[in-house]
């Protein structure tokens, strides 16, 4: 079965977690990556992180005693999902460009 499209929030969260980050770091990174267009609200991020941990697309790292903040990182299966999504998005963009140029 082809992979369902990821939401923009999930796509950017996965993209942000190639190195370990805590919640606030993810929000800042997504803001930076999208040049301020995507604003992740904390409640949305919390729900998404829990879902992604359940799906094993990301891992919650053991808590650092120096910092209470929980950090997350992309897993191998998360990376696969991300690559498939990039392929899907590329197909959308390529088809869009080709058909618009032809018309």
């Amino acid at each position: 079965m082809p992979q369902q499209a990821l939401t923009e929030a999930v796509y950017y969260i996965l993209l942000s977690l190639q190195k370990p980050l805590h919640g606030y770091g993810i929000i800042q990174n997504v803001d930076e990556l999208s040049k301020g267009r995507v604003k992740l609200a904390p409640g949305t991020l919390y729900g998404a992180l829990n879902t992604l941990v359940e799906k094993e697309w990301i891992d919650a790292l053991p808590e650092n005693p120096e910092s209470r903040k929980k950090e997350y990182v992309l897993t191998a299966s998360g990376r696969t999902v991300l690559k498939e999504e990039i392929d899907r998005l590329s197909e959308l963009v390529d088809n869009g460009k080709r058909l618009l140029e032809e018309s």
Binding site: T7, G23, A41, G43, T44, G47, R68, K69
Partner: protein, 188 residues
Amino acid sequence: MRTTFKKWFWIWQLPKEEAWINEMADHGYGLVAAGRITFEFEDIDPGKYGYKELFMKGDFSSEKIRDFLSFMEDMGFQNVAHVSYPDHTVIYLRYENNGEVPEIYSDLDSKIEYEKTLCHFLIPLGIFNILAWVYNMAVWIDFMIKGYPRAIQFISFINLAIAIMIFAKVGNKYQTIKELKQERAIHE
């Protein structure tokens, strides 16, 4: 200095209550504790803090809510008060006011789930009030037949009135959910 105000809001009036609490904060009263009808404030610099209210499933002491509050604290939202309802909790969060009102949920799925939480709480409450009204009316009719009219049973019309208000609000919420789903079908 601490000041206590008494004010009633229905459970479905959280946005109205939140607006009032923020208005109080603009006047230098910062929320520090809340009950069903009591709100305790302490003096703060006017407009220093903003407040958000959330209606959540689960007890305040549950792992789910504790974990959520810990996450929100990392995000700059401090839990200042809560009010418990059966298997549900109203959470009061405080944030440093920088002129922007932050959203708690930015995606449509989370917004839909949030609206559903209140509906799932209200529907059994509405049914309970309908049943209470029907029961009291049946008792009243029984007494009438036996020749002992008891006008007190008419107080049960309050149950009917509450049930009507609840179901009107639930209808309203389902309309919002429908609109959010239509939006999601196009944009997410």
